[in-house]
């Protein structure tokens, strides 16, 4: 049953042109384009463009997939009545949830390897198997964290249009304050303040550090990890309450 559901979930994703372009085409294209503009710069930690922005763009794709194709889709199915109709069939809820999670992991892994491949071909990114394994492991953890946060946020929406507007706005906010466009440190003060409350910014910092084997348990790392853990606890509480309310 799980494989059948997953097959159809992936088929449905492939037919959503908006998701395909916005999530799987635009970020890699932007990664290449920005590299042409800023490829010669040196970034924090004495890193090259590819060392900094390869994990960043992988995270951006992950965010896009999880928020649009997982979170927003939940709202869409809930508000259009699809969820209600499916719930009337004898398919276990855990199969539907597991399929959604696996779909996100497959799509984000596709994003991971496509951006990585572009980095190697276009920007001479070095290949290191051990680093790849640890980065991919952390990337899967980020997937799980984002799925939890996304589930909690979208549980508040009962209207598809407001969820869509929210998704588009939040994508812009994350893009600017997550360190995906230009380094947050180079931006005005108010943007850096917003960045501090943006969990994606903290995830991005940690991911870049792990990707480049620069991860250290210092004050900044503790703040980032502590903040993300606190958000996950809040998200789990919200999910629990919203599930209880719906039942």
């Amino acid at each position: 049953m799980l494989t059948t559901q997953l097959k159809y979930d992936l088929l449905m994703f492939s037919r959503e042109l908006f998701y395909l372009i916005f999530i799987l085409v635009v970020p890699p294209a932007t990664y290449i384009f920005m590299g042409q503009l800023y490829g010669d710069f040196t970034y924090a930690g004495n890193l090259t463009y590819a060392q900094t922005y390869t994990p960043s763009f992988i995270l951006l794709i992950t965010f896009g997939v999880v928020f649009f194709s997982f979170g927003f889709e939940q709202v869409m199915h809930r508000t259009t009545g699809v969820e209600k109709r499916i719930s009337l069939s004898p398919v276990p809820k855990k199969v539907l949830l597991l399929s959604s999670i696996l779909k996100s992991i497959i799509l984000t892994s596709f994003g991971f390897f496509i951006v990585y491949l572009i980095g190697i071909i276009v920007y001479n990114l070095s290949f290191n198997l051990l680093s790849l394994i640890s980065s991919y492991g952390f990337f899967i953890l980020l997937n799980a964290l984002l799925l939890t946060i996304s589930s909690a946020i979208y549980s508040f929406f009962s209207n598809m249009n407001s969820a869509l507007v929210f998704s588009i706005i939040i994508f812009q906010v994350v893009m600017i304050t997550g360190g995906f466009a230009i380094p947050v440190e180079m931006m005005p003060k108010f943007v850096t303040v917003i960045a501090e409350v943006n969990p994606i910014y903290h995830m991005n910092k940690l991911f870049i550090a792990i990707w480049n084997e620069q991860f250290q348990l210092d004050k900044s790392t503790f703040i980032s990890i502590g903040y993300i853990v606190a958000l996950i606890i809040i998200a789990l509480v919200i999910i629990r309450f919203s599930t209880k309310r719906r039942n």
Partner: protein, 239 residues
């Protein structure tokens, strides 16, 4: 054989008590129409029978199972015997009709041949169309075809013919009657079309002011002096 037994069913939304003590029984093979004005609680009642809505007080027995205390795994088994057509009907919009049938066949682990269902419901011309692109009538037909995939013992239809032209309505009813005749399955439906009740239903339940004011055979209602079920409804329910 009793398929459903409902006693003193009560349900509120906040301070609004919609159902104030409904009693209802459905036997195997019966076609029962549930009527009442908008907001009377018909859909709430059906959704409780569908096992997707909780209730406050009362007992609801479906296929000998008390649905309030049933564990999740048995609830999923119970749902294999129930099929529904909702209003409005919605499925995954980016799946084609043939794909939807295959997916639901997997959900119900149904032995029914998809090709037979497509032939029975005259869906050949629509099998490669996206569900979202179908007209309202064909969406209802597809929904009914999916409902029959599971060979259900109980079919629950929430306003199945709303918005359909007379031909589509006849087509839909021919399938429902055919199912009822062939399988002896029980059908419970809501509708605002009293002609349908008169033509096709064995029994009528009128929900008014939160209770089943009338629960009687169509025949007996007509025998009691009403010219039609429409006349019965208009005289029984005030605006």
């Amino acid at each position: 054989m009793a398929i459903i037994d409902v006693r003193n069913l009560q349900k509120s939304y906040g301070n609004n008590q919609v159902l104030k003590g409904v009693n209802f029984q459905a036997q195997e093979g019966e076609v029962i129409g549930v009527i009442g004005k908008n907001g009377a609680g018909k859909s709430t009642f059906l959704e409780i029978l569908m096992t997707i809505k909780s209730y406050d007080i009362g007992t609801v027995i479906v296929f000998d199972e008390d649905i309030k205390s049933i564990p999740t795994n048995r609830l999923e088994q119970l749902r294999q015997n129930i099929s529904v057509v909702l209003q409005p009907t919605q499925f995954y919009k980016t799946l084609k009709v043939g794909e939807l049938l295959k997916l639901f066949k997997a959900y119900y682990q149904s032995p029914v041949d998809i090709e037979k269902i497509i032939a029975d419901f005259k869906l050949e011309a629509h099998r490669k169309k996206y569900f979202d692109k179908l007209s309202g009538g064909w969406k209802q037909i597809v929904s009914l075809a999916i409902a029959f995939l599971s060979e259900p013992k109980l079919l629950i239809l929430d306003e199945p013919t709303t918005g359909l032209d007379p031909h589509m309505r006849n087509l839909l009813w021919s399938y429902i009657k055919n199912y009822n005749d062939k399988t002896g399955g029980t059908v419970i439906l809501t509708t605002h079309n009293m002609d349908e009740i008169e033509l096709y239903c064995d029994k009528v339940m009128l929900i008014n002011n939160g209770v089943n004011e009338v629960f009687e055979t169509t025949e007996n209602i007509l025998a009691s002096g009403y010219k039609s079920i429409n006349a019965f409804y208009l005289q029984s329910v005030s605006i």
